[in-house]
Every structure is written in structure tokens, then in C-alpha cells.
């Protein structure tokens, strides 16, 4: 699929130096700065026809070869009319792990962003209900970060025991 039209619209709107592109196999990716992500997604949705949000995910590049930033957030978009797929990537570093929520654009972003928050600790401003979704509410760590061990830090052994007398 040619992405020439999409890139043309993005260049007109943002300027050619505001984003970079890369391609691998059949994935075409656009890399933007974290402050530009919402504007880019809005432009892609309303002007370039990418009406379905396929996925929002994140990755922790702490031990990745040749990585410059720690967290990457990836938005997978789909244009239903042309079948074109596009991936918008942005990179975040501590302590500034905030992005604007894509909920105003796509209601499906709700639970996807909650999971990214739950697993990585990346906050989404403007999200209606940003709380943990998969882990219990009182969990304190962010499990999918690379510095969190596979077997956990003993949370499973430290459940408070409620005896029949107390309960």
C-alpha cells in the first residue's frame, strides 16, 4: 500500500521535520514526539481516513540494543476503506510519562490505555477512568517493565489472611 498521500497530508499539517518514518516487512511506521501524538492521531483520523484504532500498546526498551529512550507507545491504525495500516510510535522517558488520551477520538482507546497504564505506568491525560484493570487495585508496581522480575516481588506470598473470627 502506498502511504504517499498520508505522508503528504501530514507534512503539510506538521512540517517535514516533525516526524520520521520507517518501514519493516509490511509495517509502515511514523515516529512523532510525545507532545504531537494527539494532534497526529487527530489528523490521521479526520483527514487521512484512518477510522479504526486497532491497538495501543507499549514496550520498555531498557535492555534493547541501541535504544535511546526507555518507553515506546505504539498506536496501530487502520483505514477501513483502503485497507491501509499505519503505526504511530512515540518515545517517552522518565519522569515525564504522560500522553494525551486518545479517548476523545476513539472510544475503544479506553481499555487499551488502562492496560498500558496498569502494566507500564504511563499516564493518559483526559482519560475518563484511568485505573488498574488487570492487576488488583492495591498493586503498586508496574509488571511489564523490564526491571520487574518475572516471578514478582513476593506479592503472592503476602496476602493478608482474614480469619473466621475477624471476617
Amino acid at each position: 500500500m502506498s502511504h504517499v498521500a498520508t505522508l503528504g497530508i501530514l507534512r503539510d499539517r506538521f512540517g517535514a521535520d516533525k516526524f520520521t518514518t520507517s518501514e519493516f516487512r509490511d509495517n509502515f511506521r511514523i515516529i512523532v514526539a510525545p507532545t504531537q501524538v494527539f494532534a497526529a492521531l487527530q489528523c490521521l483520523k479526520h483527514d487521512c481516513g484512518f477510522d479504526m484504532l486497532i491497538d495501543i500498546t507499549a514496550a520498555d526498551y531498557l535492555y534493547y540494543p541501541n535504544a535511546r529512550d526507555r518507553f515506546g507507545v505504539i498506536y496501530a491504525l487502520l483505514n477501513m476503506n483502503t485497507g491501509e495500516r499505519l503505526y504511530v510510535k512515540t518515545f517517552l522517558n522518565e519522569p515525564d510519562l504522560t500522553l494525551l488520551s486518545a479517548f476523545p477520538l476513539w472510544k475503544g482507546a479506553d481499555w487499551m490505555e488502562r492496560e498500558v497504564f496498569d502494566m507500564y505506568g504511563i499516564l493518559f491525560e483526559g482519560h475518563p477512568d484511568l485505573r488498574r484493570i488487570l492487576m488488583p487495585e492495591e498493586f503498586t508496581a508496574f509488571p511489564l517493565r523490564k526491571d520487574y522480575p518475572l516471578r514478582g516481588r513476593g506479592e503472592r506470598h503476602n496476602f493478608p489472611v482474614i480469619t473466621r473470627a475477624e471476617g
Binding site: I54, G108, W111, E125, L150
Partner: protein, 406 residues
Amino acid sequence: MPVEAAEPIAEEAPEKEYLWTLNFGPQHPATHTTLRLVLTLDGETIVKAVPDIGYLHSGFEKLGEDLNYNQYVAIVDRMNYISPVANEVSWFEAVEKLLGIELTPRCKYIRTIFAELMRLHDHLLCIGAAALDLGGYTAFLYAFYQRELIYDISETASGQRFHPSYLRVGGLMYDIDDAFVQKVRSFVKGFPKAYHDIVRLLNRNRIFIERTRDIGVLSKEDAINLSCTGPIARASGVVRDLRKDEPYLAYRDFDFKVVCATAGDCYTRYLVRMEEMLESLKIVEQAIENLPSGPVNVDTQSKVVMPEQLSTYRSIESMIQHFELIMPNRGFQAPIDEVYGAAESPNGELGFYVVSDGTERSYRARTRPPSYIHFAIFPYLIKGHQISDVVAVLGSLNIIAAELDR
């Protein structure tokens, strides 16, 4: 930009004290598997439903960073455990795209047969469980007998009924034999009778129609905005099927239709799934009759496939390759990049976003789970309906908790 506070919940205002909260808890026979709904009710009408998930969270994605591409297939099997091989097909779509492997024709046909058999498997369970939840026990048993036959077919191919772990990078675990072909043929011959039995039981059943028609209506704009894919979206008018739009495996060679509808209620989703079963049966029939011969695994020159066992005793190259693949810290030379690959699983678009750091383990293996995305639409569908409709809507969404929570 300041963070916007969440709107104060109108239902908790003092004049709304007649609303009461019901916990449709994780332990409930009608929630297929452990998921929890906190329902705010006005009499029997639901005003608000808040799902609460995470009871089955097992850290599959964290395990994906610890297991290599061939080992992770056992985990992927267990995500949508109702259609195991379909998950493996999606996983290997992503992984083989990353590694740049082109499969042999025979392997593509066998994977297609399995993917379609698993579509039948999943739809039979969804329809059977939907009928069971609404009180129709017989349809459930008819559907489950057909599923037993598919379990037999899985066992013939790989030795395991439920989670075959049959696919490998570049090919399959074992090639199929004549017993498999005979079993598939006899299944294809016997399925239409069971299908028509279920149709006679449910399609014009007054109780079934009254309980599912106009319940849980999903409009087309909502389906696109909420990222729905699969039969749920197709029943709302979204004409999108990855088997036709982005053909993978051997789907280009087969003649089948994509089933769509416009009404978007539970009854329509049931009808879409029933028709899709017939289309899948057509594909299985065409595939099993035209199965190409030849090797099932990719050429051993590409260094991703295990060599034949006897050849490891006889030739040094085979032994070296066996060593390279089995020993840790050696193995696949994957490119250092990331890729997203998806396939049309029975529930919708199941995709994997694989980030690779060059070793034989993925650095990050993200599952794009259709059940998770579809459960998020539940509060929108159930507003204004009654408690008994919760069961009908949940049944029609086909939520599998293992894929929901991973």
C-alpha cells in the same frame, strides 16, 4: 493541558438512592469464566454496568519475554482456549513475518484446515453456550458432540485434544497422515446434519428470538469507533474480514463468502456465526480434497526448522542445526526490529506485536486480544436492558476470560 476530572456519577446523587447495586460476580455459571460486572439497577433495568476483570491474569505477555518463539506457542494456545490452533496461526503470522519465512504450500493448506476447524470449534461453543444460558440445553449438547469430533481430529494430528501446540516456526510439529484425512472427511460429511438440528432448535424458536432480538444492539459507527472486529462487527454492517482483505495462508485459493448483516443485535450475531460455520465447512472441504503434497516444514537451509531426527545421527550439519536450535542463547537469528501480524481468529482480529532484539526470544510479545476489546463495549450495549439480558449479551459477545486477562 490540565487533567480533566471524571464526571461525578449521576447515579450516586441523593435523589437516585432507589438505585441499587448488584454484583454479577466472578463466580457465576452464566458469566463464561471469571469476570465480574457491577450492575447499577433501577428495579430490573440496568442503568450502569462496570466490568471488573483481571481474575485470570497470568502474565502471558511477561512470559513471552522469557520463552523462545517455539516455546511461546504453548502459551498462545491457552489464550483463547476454545480455538487453540487459531491463536497459534496468528502468533506465527507475526513471527514468520518478522523472520521473513515463506511457508510451503502443504503447510499453508494444513494450517488453513486447522484454522477453519477451530473457527467451527469456537462458533459451536459460542452458540451452544448462548443457547445453554438461555435455557436450551439440547442445542448445547448437539454442538458439543461436534466439538468432540474436532478434538479427535486434533488428537490425531498432534496427540493432544485441547491445546495441540501443533504449529512451529516454519512448519508444523508433525506432518498429517491418512487417518487425519479420513477423520476430516467424515467430519465434513456429518456436520451438516448436526447444523440443521441446531437450526431447527433455535432459529425460529420463539423463546430464543424473544430473548435475543433487539437486545444489545451495536450500530456500525459504534462498532468502528470501539475497535470491534470479527463476527460482532460483521453483524453490525462492518464489512471486514482479514481472510479476504489481507489474505494470509492459503485463503486466496478457496471460494467462500464473508457473512455480514446489518441489524447488530444478539440474534443477528447468532445468525452470522451460524452462516460462518457453513462457510468454514466449505473451506475445509475444498482444502482437504486439494491438499498439495510435498514437505511440510520449510527447507532446513533457512536454519529455523528442526532437522529430521535420523539425520542428526548421520550428518554433521543436521546435528549442528539441532544444537543451535535447542541450546539456550543460540537459535533464531531474528532481525532487530518490530512487527505486527494479525489473522482472523473466530472472535475477531487477533494480532501480535512482536519486538525482537535479535535473540531467539521475543523482547516484547503483545497480544491484541479481541475478547478484551469486545468486553469493553459491554457497558454500551447493556444500558436500558434487564438483568436477564446480561446473559444473552455476554453469550453473544463470546468473551473468553483467558484472552481477556492473559
